[in-house]
Symmetry: D3
Subunit: 136 residues, 6 copies
């Protein structure tokens, strides 16, 4: 695709993930799994979600991921894993991601926070990331 908004979207995704040769959009889910039933979904995600919204000035990258994770914790949806990966990709530490989720206890209650911590824990384990908790 050489469409301008699409290119802008791809360039934006690269700032929020760790692109590789086999996977230029890194870990980011851009709807390719649904090409057989909705081939336009990928364009919608790349162009709108990333090209228009993620690229929009205002918050910095870390803040954008914090906002995303927080909205998803509140909704209790399973995409938390993907956005924890995004958080790590933009330089949030595991402590900051855990801090974000735990901060939401007064707003979403414990169950959604615990479910989200479970997802975060899984990603940290996959990536061999540990938290130094000795000072706590």
């Amino acid at each position: 695709m050489t469409n301008e908004r699409y290119q802008k979207g791809i360039e934006t995704i690269k700032q929020f993930t760790i692109p590789t040769e086999e996977n230029p959009t890194g870990h980011m889910d851009i709807g390719e799994a649904f090409t057989d039933i909705a081939p336009d979904l990928k364009e919608i995600i790349v162009e709108f979600a990333f090209g228009d919204i993620y690229a929009r000035p205002g918050l910095d990258k870390k803040q954008k991921v914090i906002a995303t994770i927080s909205a998803l914790v509140a909704q209790g949806t399973p995409q938390i894993e993907m956005h924890v990966r995004t958080g790590l990709a933009v330089g949030l530490t595991a402590e900051e991601i855990v801090g974000c989720i735990i901060h939401l206890i007064p707003y979403t209650g414990f169950p959604r926070v615990l479910n989200s911590l479970k997802a975060a824990q899984k990603v940290f384990a996959e990536q061999g990331i540990t938290i130094n908790t000795s000072g706590q």
Copy 2:
């Protein structure tokens, strides 16, 4: 109250609001409106929400408010106004707050974002805050 956690909570609140002489906890709602039916609610809010959670290391103050606002946009609750005030109090600009809300369109849909922008707009107007939109 001289309880240690309560004091910690009050000190934490002061970092997230602009305290005045008449109102040491600034604009923050700490449940005092319900003293007649639940006098312990104020302690619960000050000690737990602020003394334990808001004081917890991890995210910085701006990030904590971004997380809070995002969770509330996702829930569609009316406390958005209060937390927009908190955002301004910790140094988030109006552009950053608007950026946070608009960033959530791909996660919460437009209606909740529009309702939240309306609340933010009201707070900006009250405080005489404008956004320089000429570059947009």
Copy 3:
């Protein structure tokens, strides 16, 4: 209406409200406000919600109202006032109703609890009900 399920529904409603001569179904909203656009709604509410569900054995009346209020606090919907009235009608005290709402903080977060307390407080004030908080 002499339909058996309808009669059962009306009899059930009377157990959850304080019927008067002018208002045999007391404070309970049974959809009569929508007779002009959906006349069958009243039957649906009286027969199904009350005749089938509220009449179902299992929980006692107070427990049923606690379940209802809790689900509504979690949803953040405005019908809380009506169900606080129902709670008082079946003998729950104001302390028990406040206790129910505050119990939900770990599950729904503070905003929804505060909004629900506001609704409860309004009903208590209307009915001149106070809580003895001296022991707290």
Copy 4:
């Protein structure tokens, strides 16, 4: 931990579960699975959720569990299993728990109720609990 609020929390948990020697807090999830990424979570849950909230006077134990289950059915979260266990531990019968979930149909709709019944059914089966349905 010998902290007063922590002890109060542990004592409160014991009233809502069936403690054993190997597992003094019975079936209750107190966040120990996350000790490696958030060691303070356990204190937060034990001290706040149980020491402050669950211990608060107002509702009796069965009513507190009914409130909890109802809020979770409304949210559609997976912790329902744990709280069904809590319900059985405080003396709610399987009929009362089923009655609580079914009572919510007019408030949460059928899907969330069916998903919650599935969780309850699993717990009853694990504990060899049956319901005498011959009279229904």
Copy 5:
């Protein structure tokens, strides 16, 4: 704006509303109230929500509005009024709109349905629309 996607969006909006000379986008809220804090919001709504999504083939116009109203009833958000107007604009009758909302009782519960019926009733009254209920 002569941008192609923007024009497509405006043309699409016109199919879902009753444009007038003073108001070419009819009753549709396209974010113009927020021009002072987010001037790009209007483009986002017109180009993405309408130019990309509303214009997408698949469902017919009435079905698209039914889908929208249903999602909003489930969320309990206040934009229901606007979409009831959209429904009437594309030729849904008041009976069909009421039928859509009432159909959701088994999925969203009664409170959200009643709140939505109230919004629909308000729009019908404004437009002098009545329902012939004699056959019901």
Copy 6:
């Protein structure tokens, strides 16, 4: 069961599914899995959900399923699969079902839409249904 409302419910279900000899109510979940803990649930579903609500005039069958699917996408519940089957049974094409789900992006955000597309995709694959996407 020869109860009139029950029969009406069964007849209604047959219009929304493809009945077979072994399974007269086709793929529709009517609560039979819970007969051991709530034998009345089946009657409640058949008589109320189908006999009263699904049979109610207003929307046509396709519109009713679109409304249902949309409310469930908004709620993020797992019953989407069953209702996609219902959609196919009443004659909605795969494109229309995908169109319905994608139409909701501006109202529910992407995660819930993606999760719902995954459920729809699974059902299409099971039934060997493909979408001709060459024109897109």
